[in-house]
Symmetry: C2
Subunit: 348 residues, 2 copies
């Protein structure tokens, strides 16, 4: 179990996440749900019905019109219409911490009966006793132990089943809803809208590629092939005549920041023409995407809605958005103001 270089950064982000697990609170209470839909009265064209008419929606619609019109100099053939979407904070919520961290914690609890030694050993002891400050105190190494204990040691087929079962029963600790209901309705509409116009949508997330694949088809309509994410190494073995891929406790790739263009190149092999993110972890993905020739679309979802979701940017421990806010205008990227641009946040 080793960790070096850029991998440190990602683990630090996770660590910051867990360090506030016990402290974080959602500014708006659950009683502010469901969304107020304060703009439903205005005329809603069929495209992007949960988007208020405004600069953000217009920029998306205009871009799609340009690249799909064969008479337009910016026309892009269908095969090259690749759009990439960050997941945490862009397609679903990410507060108080990345949902995958809740998975790791729940998984450690589920496995505890087989690991009596965890009762006395941090960071597991802290997880089992609900003492997340003690977990955080174990630092980067402790967090990596937690992730590896919960995400490796099984076959890929077993892990897929574990993720599916967890998602079918787990509920967000503050909102008391299944995590898969905490997806953004306006972004589901963007996915549909782009696909209806011949785009192929990929998820490009710092989250685990095999944590996402089991459910993204049902939730987002994105096939498992179209997921790029962080990964552990896997090893091919034949067990009792059956070939298996075993997830082993080594980080293979961290798909965040400078890693996102690398992951895109590795998995897709084409430069996208549209990219949607929400944090500075997506900066290089938007930079790479929008530096290509022709018309390009870069979109940042800005979390401005403390009533219906959460409001955060520059100082956030999760989904920090700082450089993106400073440079969006000069780079021609679209800033989506969740509070004013979206008529609703989550699906009904």
């Amino acid at each position: 179990m080793t960790i070096t270089g850029k991998r440190r950064i990602a683990v630090q982000v996770l660590l910051l996440g867990i360090s506030v697990l016990g402290l974080a609170c959602r500014p708006g209470g659950e009683d502010s749900m469901p969304a107020a839909q304060d703009s439903v009265a205005e005329s809603s064209p069929p495209a992007l019905p949960s988007w208020n008419n405004g600069a953000a929606k217009q920029a998306i619609v205009d871009f799609v019109a340009r690249v799909t019109d064969p008479a337009n100099p910016d026309f892009v053939p269908e095969a090259e219409r690749i759009a990439v979407f960050d997941n945490d904070g862009t397609l679903w919520s990410e507060r108080p911490v990345y949902f995958q961290l809740f998975f790791a914690i729940d998984r450690v609890k589920a496995l505890a009966a087989d690991h009596p030694e965890w009762k006395e050993k941090q960071p597991f002891k802290g997880v089992l006793e609900g003492d997340l400050e003690a977990v955080a105190a174990t630092g980067e190494h402790g967090l990596l132990e937690l992730v590896m204990a919960s995400h490796t040691g099984m076959t890929t087929t077993e892990f897929e089943q574990i993720v599916k079962e967890w998602l079918a029963t787990a509920r967000h600790p503050e909102l008391d809803r299944p995590y898969t209901e905490l997806v953004y309705q306006p972004m589901l509409e963007v996915l549909d809208y782009l696909r209806a116009h011949g785009f192929k949508a990929y998820i490009v997330s710092g989250g685990g590629i095999e944590f996402m694949r089991p459910w993204v088809e049902e939730v987002y309509g994105v096939s498992p092939e179209q997921v790029v994410g962080s990964s552990v190494n896997t090893k091919f073995e034949v067990r009792n005549g059956e070939p298996v891929l075993v997830r082993i406790p080594e980080i293979d790739f961290i798909n965040d920041k400078e890693g996102k263009p690398v992951g895109i190149n590795s998995h897709i092999g084409r430069r996208p023409i549209a990219a949607f993110g929400n944090s500075d972890g997506d900066f290089q993905m938007l930079e790479w995407t929008t530096a290509g020739d022709g018309s390009r679309l870069g979109v940042i979802v800005h979390h401005t809605d403390a009533e219906r979701e959460w409001a955060y940017d520059r100082d956030s421990h999760v989904g920090r958005l700082d450089r993106g806010l400073d440079e969006a205008a000069e780079r021609g990227w679209v800033l989506v103001d969740m509070k004013s641009d979206w008529t609703t946040v989550y699906p009904d």
Copy 2:
């Protein structure tokens, strides 16, 4: 520049290749080309016209009929109809050595003017003087130097252009045809046939992923997204305000043998239902594919045609097929006999 573990194996294969560069000869002369088409007289149904009616063709057609018939218990929904194809020796020829090695050699020659030191330094000196025995004598380390010098140091965009330009002008040293004409007509028909039945075809090759992507769409109709291959690491940089991905001299992944199921899982995230290979480097890919539930298809192209292509298997330095020959029958894999199953080898 480091090389460890399974990476050694792949380099050794390459090394074996280069060691016979000066020695290898094609059993049949060029005058035996084009293919004799000795079976054109028999009745040709529209599907797979360059395949003689026989067990191999029947197995492919029967499999496709089963998995695409909604009334059949083996029916597979379209989204799960993933077929994987090895490239070297399965979709195009691989003699006297993998064509990518010719690319490396031509590239070193093209770069020599900028590297006067290469005149005195092996393995470059050997390449420039046509002394391939001297190249081989530099061993694994020397060959890796050759690959890295020819495949890294440039941006991904530059490399794509270099590959395209090479393929547009390079010709096979014995057959005197562009490499992209040395693809197997019967396999092009399999690709078309599967796609016509709702399959998504992926190339899963030990060759470089970025060596293949620039041309597979035009030659095979396979999009760059659907290529899995070996890779070097890339690094994101911003140069004069322009984001680039630089190919650096570190091996990232070798997509061969046990690596193929790993690469498939990483890039596709679904288990294929059909796999086509030709050598023991494809064994685990076929094993992984055909171990899945329901109807599965494993196909090995056996190089039996010394007249129209090359004949080789157990003792070959390239495309060695030994275990696959021994176990195909018991595993239910289809052995394609190129000589008797194919009416033609290359496209006209």
